[in-house]
Symmetry: C2
Subunit: 267 residues, 2 copies
């Protein structure tokens, strides 16, 4: 068990309480390497830094734990770790190898339903899954910086233990969302599907000190299937942890034939 190498990242930044809790949770399972963003990167989705260089800074080292801060996005952190840091070193704790598990989070805020598309936490977890390693994104449905991560920590520990023991086949990427509440209030865990729906925005508009209008996104999620009982939104609304297995083929297969009849041609 001590030979395991576990990689962590997040999108709320290297100093976020949710990451601190995740570090404590996974340390019992192996050597932990963290590369997390220097600053908050909420809403950064699967963004990568193409037009600027990246910087990497060692923040903390102690037996069983190394923490680095990266100037880039959550996905940059994963690439920096998996394609550089962990493959170009002879240091302690596992040396030059691929991790046994990748975790991202614990995010401050829900990444259920279509939120997965905007989420830096899940961008990193999805990227981690591309390395043929089990990859899990954890999110708590509470945006506040002083959210109570006790129940989320218990849930994360159970799921990490379950995945490390069961060793499901890869590719394996999980979107885990945890409802707000005390540990004893959580009703269970439901592996389920992503709920359909989208955000509609209202722009908070004000004028700044030099007379220029500025806008702030302030939207609301519109659940397109509030009656469905097999979705992540249903699970969370009923006190369950939602676990959605993730894939990244965005093809809408059922439209290929009908669109082909309109657009296909040979010149």
């Amino acid at each position: 068990m001590d030979n395991r190498l576990i990689f962590l990242t997040n999108d709320d930044g290297v100093s976020a309480p949710g990451l601190a809790r995740l570090i404590e949770v996974v340390r019992e399972f192996g050597h932990v390497v963290v590369v997390a963003p220097e600053s908050a990167q909420s809403g950064m989705s699967h963004a990568i830094t193409m037009n600027h260089p990246l910087f990497l800074r060692k923040v903390r080292t102690e037996p069983g734990l190394e923490v680095y801060a990266c100037s880039g996005t959550p996905v940059d952190c994963v690439k920096m770790a998996l394609d550089h840091l962990l493959t170009n070193r002879t240091a302690d704790g596992g040396g030059d190898r691929t991790p046994d598990l990748i975790c991202s989070g614990i995010n401050h805020g829900s990444n259920a339903a279509i939120n997965i598309l905007y989420s830096g936490t899940m961008g990193a977890a999805i990227e981690g899954g591309f390395y043929d390693v089990p990859s899990i994104g954890f999110s708590l449905t509470d945006h506040s910086l002083d959210a109570d991560f006790e129940a989320a920590g218990v849930v994360a520990r159970d799921i990490v233990a379950g995945i490390l023991e069961a060793r499901p086949a890869t590719p394996l990427c999980l979107n885990v969302n945890i409802p707000v509440g005390r540990p004893e209030e959580i009703r269970g865990v439901r592996v389920c599907r992503q709920c359909r729906g989208h955000w509609r925005e209202e722009f908070f508009c004000r004028r700044n000190p030099v007379g220029r209008d500025y806008y702030w996104l302030t939207g609301a999620f519109q659940n397109a299937e509030p009656e469905a009982t097999d979705t992540d939104e249903w699970a969370l609304a009923h006190g369950y942890v939602s676990v959605v297995p993730i894939q990244v083929d965005l093809t809408r297969y059922e439209q290929i034939a009908s669109l082909g009849a309109v657009l296909n041609h040979e010149s």
Copy 2:
């Protein structure tokens, strides 16, 4: 035809040549409103700006065309247009209403295969699709700023005309990629599926003038199914325009049952 309202955005920024070409292409089909990023936003994926305000600036107005620059991401541009600009005005050219078509691009560089996940162009096109409007992302497989957009312009015109005439059912979001070459070299159009594969990075590492190491992403796409003939990568490699219809349910349905056996429980 003149009553149509067409919304455009991109990820290379409001001054990119690919956007200029797209504006010229779609003007014949209706009134055009552009909200594009102030600066280059390549690789911004589905990112949104949560921690900063957004600014909007009118760049150009002439009969049949309005161009705005937005300080945010490509997805911010779509939200700003669809949830604010186009729904809060009484100006000329259609007034307060949803566009008849949304186009993003023409991107400088391929967004085929897994590139769709990192792409700001496709982030915007996907977001546009959430408004129940046909939404098309166009990309040319040439990253250079002085790429030749002549063939891409011809292709974009044909596809826009085809979609406006056929009016396929929504949701409709298309990832259109156009191979490099003269118009007469393009062999046709193929509606196809997203090719499997991912990027592996090599980090270009140097030391900056104050002695700090910096890193630059420089990866290569690894095609996981080079023999498949029904993918976007195959189409592009063989001189065809690829058109992939897009959806955003990321659930890996085939894992729900087996993972449920490991993780599901009631407390």
